[in-house]
């Protein structure tokens, strides 16, 4: 029988992986701490999905320095801004984020009300902002509504200090008429100012998220991830047993924070699609954990597990890791091939996604092969109330046939 097989890892070697268990648990504890420290110090680059505000992706026709853009934004009154280069070097793309304020301050509204009272010789004018760049203006009824609308348009264009886009007759009653006035939006203003300063620009993407919505997206996103992780753990607890589940938790915590750490270090924007990246990392890692767990369960002698000696359990765990090592290496390689090629070739959003995937998967492979079974052993040791675990003693594996012959 000659099976010529290519392999990265020879299962006959029986490496003692137990030796790395302590280190793996230390890493599993350190990663979240470092990640939290990172978020604390440098901060996470929250995308507008979660922070609210306005973001524009602008392509210039020539290289433009971020500081020059900041100056233009400040002149427009957007002091709180972020400008960063984006995408490929030669595309001259910039990501501009400003905290989008209401176009109308209280004073502006008052000013416009007074202006209209003066110009239309009418007693009552009510204006109230309706979203960032609209005003609802309520005027007394006029005999000729068309003329009134034209007059209003002319006055606003001439004296309001804001550029109007459109005026719509919204509603009318016996004694008043309501107009909905749409003014130039923030993105229009910024685009105009940038064109004036740097020549032709192409606005490739504009996103605005209201702070109320971003708050909701934050909670929704966090809840979705939390529930998903909870559901996975419940399933593992049912399929395996409670001794196994905590290992999966340790893994999940380490991988989630590990992915966060990549966001912090890479200064990548953390937005809704990033949640998908995070979940992909967690998904692959939990998948690994399950394969290893499944193997441990299979390697353990049949019958009542509570009666097993701790040494036996430890040997079985070690053997299971050895047996699945080929598969772990292989699978990790295939996934890494894809994510690294994305990292190199793709641009923009996908680039950050691929970076998170690559590093997260690397970390995940370690946590699921070492930290998860380590936690399992720890649970067995402390909660299984067993004695006689010596970490430095070499492992002793049993083949299925030996088990069948009753060696164990």
């Amino acid at each position: 029988m000659n099976h010529r097989m290519f392999r990265f890892f020879d299962p006959k070697t029986e490496v003692n992986f137990i030796r790395f268990f302590r280190a793996s648990l230390l890493i599993a504890a350190l990663v979240p701490i470092i990640a939290i420290a990172g978020v604390w110090t440098t901060g996470l680059n929250w995308g507008i999905d979660f922070s609210g505000g306005m973001e524009m992706q602008v392509q210039f026709s020539k290289p433009v320095h971020a500081d020059e853009i900041r100056k233009v934004l400040e002149e427009l009154g957007y002091g709180k801004n972020q400008v960063q280069a984006y995408g490929a070097k030669d595309s001259y793309e910039m990501l501009i984020r400003v905290e989008r304020m209401d176009t109308f301050s209280e004073d502006d509204v008052k000013r416009i009300e007074n202006l209209l009272v003066g110009q239309l010789n009418s007693a009552s004018v009510q204006a109230h902002p309706n979203s960032q760049d609209r005003l609802l203006i309520r005027l007394p009824s006029a005999n000729d509504q068309k003329a009134q609308e034209e007059k209003l348009t002319a006055i606003l264009a001439a004296h309001s200090g804001f550029r109007t886009r459109s005026i719509l007759h919204e509603d009318s009653q016996n004694n008043w008429v309501e107009y909905n006035v749409l003014f130039m939006g923030v993105s229009d203003k910024v685009a105009e100012a940038l064109t004036a300063a740097f020549g032709k620009v192409e606005v490739r993407r504009v996103e605005f998220v209201d702070s109320q919505v971003s708050k909701q997206l934050r909670t929704d996103g966090a809840l979705a991830v939390f529930y998903a992780i909870l559901a996975i753990l419940i399933y593992i607890a049912i399929r395996f047993d409670l001794f196994f589940a905590p290992g999966a938790v340790v893994c999940l915590i380490q991988d989630t924070f590990g992915a966060f750490l990549v966001f912090v270090l890479g200064r990548y924007e953390f937005d809704l699609p990033s949640v998908a990246a995070l979940l992909t990392v967690v998904g692959v890692s939990i998948n690994n954990t399950i394969v290893v767990y499944d193997r441990i369960r299979e390697t353990l002698p049949p019958g009542d597990r509570s009666k097993l000696a701790e040494n036996t359990i430890r040997d079985c765990v070690n053997k299971a890791i050895n047996d699945t090592m080929s598969r772990t290496i292989n699978t990790s390689l295939t996934v890494l091939f894809s994510s690294i090629s994305l990292w190199i070739f793709a641009g923009g959003v996908i680039k950050s996604f691929a970076a998170v995937l690559t590093i997260g998967l690397g970390l995940g492979a370690f946590s699921s092969t070492l930290a998860a079974p380590a936690t399992y052993l720890w649970m067995v040791h402390y909660l299984g109330r067993r004695e006689g675990l010596n970490r430095d003693e070499g492992p002793k594996g049993y083949t299925r046939e030996e088990k069948a012959r009753g060696v164990v």
Binding site: L182, G185, V206, A228, I232, T334, G348
Partner: protein, 583 residues
């Protein structure tokens, strides 16, 4: 039946055939050039015409981040809608009380009535409880009575404000000529709008805020020019029917009826045949038929003049649902004249150039408040449904509640094209590397795995095409994850078979044992991803939900291909019980 690998191969071949059949529209869609794409976006039926007759017409829809477009979320201010409603009711109450010679000092917009005496107050509250079903008395002092809107009415306004807004916005967007717009409710008071291929959010915003075009035009029942027409196009029928007038006589109703797709040919057929004083507009007749209405060219009134429309009851003694309309002062004058000179004739309610219905004038209506009684012969529920529907049509001229823009996202078309182009390259390089690794490592068995994974991908895309699913960038991440899980399942199985071979088993037995022992790990890893997908789909929004969709569909298909498809190949090569297996 599935004992023999040949049967299973045939089955998977049939499945692959169906998958390719489902993918035809998607392949056609993704190969459209710029001008064809514009055509498809403009006309709902254009895409179906580009396909062979025997093909389905659902296809994978690229998300806004891939094809460009506008995404908005609007918040609906229901509270303001209620305040306005109360103010209007106060106005109506004032008018009606004056008409009925009831004594009162004032009724404020907040529905607080002020009276000269307690007895005056009592007569008035009595009158309100009889005549104004929608009001409730909350509290009273000696000279004041505070009313409020009926709680059931309030809750229906709360419920309907968002739906009405959605309807209104849909009407307006249909006019913009954006196809495949998606307008949906998000939460209890938000509306999500997606306009693929539209790249000017500011323009979209002003269009959405515009007033819809609602017109009232008289139906011309005297002209009989339709009767003179010869050689009607195929599938077009001339119908002569009648309607009841208030004095008991019958009005004639002559019209053409035809299936919806004939609209263009009917329009071109009628060109030049319509008398100068008339205009022909169309209305629907059942789900897929249209009919003509011959109308006076003059538009008598527009939706601008209509202040309010509500479902009410037909009369004091008649509990049938009806629709009551309130016109502005100017509108009331026109309506008075129109109704006076047209008793027994029909007035068409035309929304965005489509005739919604044509009720008959029964009496002269001087007050600017008209009530439309709906045709009889139906159950109360059906009539109520129609009344609600008509109310929506009438109110579509104005947004029922003020809206604020909570989220606006617009992606230019070039950006998505860039992402796709760069993504394609990355995807290609990644896939080729994975394929090479699998074949180098597992030899022929690796090749089987690759075939199975590609098969899996084709099934996955076919499923998405069949559902007409949207694919966004996060969705592609979900696709990659399931792709990874599928490859992993193959690796697990192959490793298991190798192990059994190392133990000295013959290939055939090794395959059987390998599959059996690998199954639990493969099954568990698929199920956890599937569960995660379900939970994310339930609780996530937008991008996260799209990611979850891919996960759900992907895991279901991947478990099938991992244990079923590859097994066919293994059974095929071990059919004659060979001594060696290339793995």
């Amino acid at each position: 039946m599935f004992e023999s690998w040949k049967t299973r191969l045939l089955f998977s071949g049939i499945l692959l055939g169906s998958a390719i059949y489902l993918l035809i529209p998607t392949l056609v869609y993704f190969r459209l050039d710029e001008s064809q794409l514009r055509e498809v976006r403009r006309d709902k039926h254009a895409f179906a015409k580009m396909l062979p007759a025997w093909s389905i017409d659902t296809h994978i829809v690229p998300g806004l981040d891939l094809q460009g477009g506008v995404h908005m979320v609007l918040g609906v201010d229901v509270e303001k809608a209620l305040k306005d409603r109360a103010a209007r009711t106060a106005e109506r109450l004032k008018d009606y009380a004056k008409e009925q010679k009831m004594a009162f000092s004032d009724i404020s917009a907040e529905l607080l009535g002020t009276f000269a005496s307690t007895s005056e107050r009592d007569t008035f509250t009595e009158f309100v409880s009889k005549k104004f079903q929608e009001l409730r008395l909350v509290s009273q002092t000696d000279a004041q009575a505070q009313f409020e809107l009926d709680p059931t009415l309030v809750s229906s306004v709360r419920r309907d404000a968002v739906d009405q807004t959605i309807n209104t916005i849909r009407t307006r967007i249909d006019k913009m000529g954006v196809t495949e717009p998606s307008i949906s409710k998000r939460g209890s008071d938000k509306i999500q709008i997606q306009l693929p291929g539209f790249d000017n959010p500011e323009e979209a915003k002003s269009l959405i805020g515009r007033t819809a075009q609602l017109e009232f035009q008289m139906v011309d029942d005297k002209t009989e020019f339709l009767k003179e027409l010869k050689d009607l196009p195929e599938g077009v029928q001339m119908i002569t029917s009648s309607y009841g007038r208030p004095n008991g006589s019958q009005g004639k109703d002559i019209f053409l009826q035809f299936p919806e797709e004939k609209l263009e040919s009917v329009k071109s057929y009628l060109k030049g045949k319509i008398p100068a004083e008339n205009v022909i507009k169309f209305g629907s007749l059942g789900p897929s038929y249209l009919r003509t209405y011959t109308l006076d060219r003059k538009v008598a009134l527009t939706g601008e003049e209509l202040i309010d429309a509500q479902v009410s009851q037909a009369g004091e003694m008649d509990s049938r649902p009806a629709v009551s309309m309130t016109f502005s002062a100017g509108g009331a004058r026109v309506f008075d004249e129109l109704s006076g000179s047209n008793i027994g004739n029909r007035m068409a309610i035309v929304l965005e150039e489509r005739v919604d219905s044509a009720p008959v004038f029964n009496t002269r209506i001087p007050s600017g408040r008209a009530s439309i009684t709906l045709g009889g012969g139906r159950t109360h529920e059906e009539t109520l449904k129609d009344a609600n529907q008509l109310t929506l049509v009438l109110k579509s001229g104005a947004l029922p509640a003020p809206v604020t823009f909570r989220e606006e996202r617009s992606v230019g078309p070039s950006l998505g094209a860039d992402s796709i182009q760069k993504g394609q390259m990355a995807f290609l390089v990644g896939s080729v590397l994975v394929i090479l690794l699998m074949i180098f490592y597992y030899r022929i068995s690796g090749f089987f795995s690759v075939v199975a994974v590609i098969y899996n991908l084709i099934l996955m895309l076919a499923a998405l095409a069949w559902l007409g699913a949207t694919v966004t960038l996060p969705g592609i991440a979900g696709l990659l994850l399931t792709f990874g899980i599928a490859v992993d399942a193959n690796v697990i199985i192959n490793e298991r078979i190798r192990e059994e071979l190392r133990r000295g088993k013959m290939p055939r037995e090794a395959v059987a044992t390998g599959y059996r022992s690998a199954f639990t790990a493969v099954f568990d890893s698929h199920v956890t991803s599937f569960i995660a997908g379900l939970v994310l789909w339930e609780f996530g929004t937008g991008p996260v939900q799209n990611f979850a969709t891919m996960l759900i569909i992907g895991t279901v298909l991947s478990i099938f291909t991992a244990v079923f498809i590859t097994r066919i190949f293994f059974d095929m090569v071990t059919a004659n019980n060979p001594k060696e297996l290339s793995i």
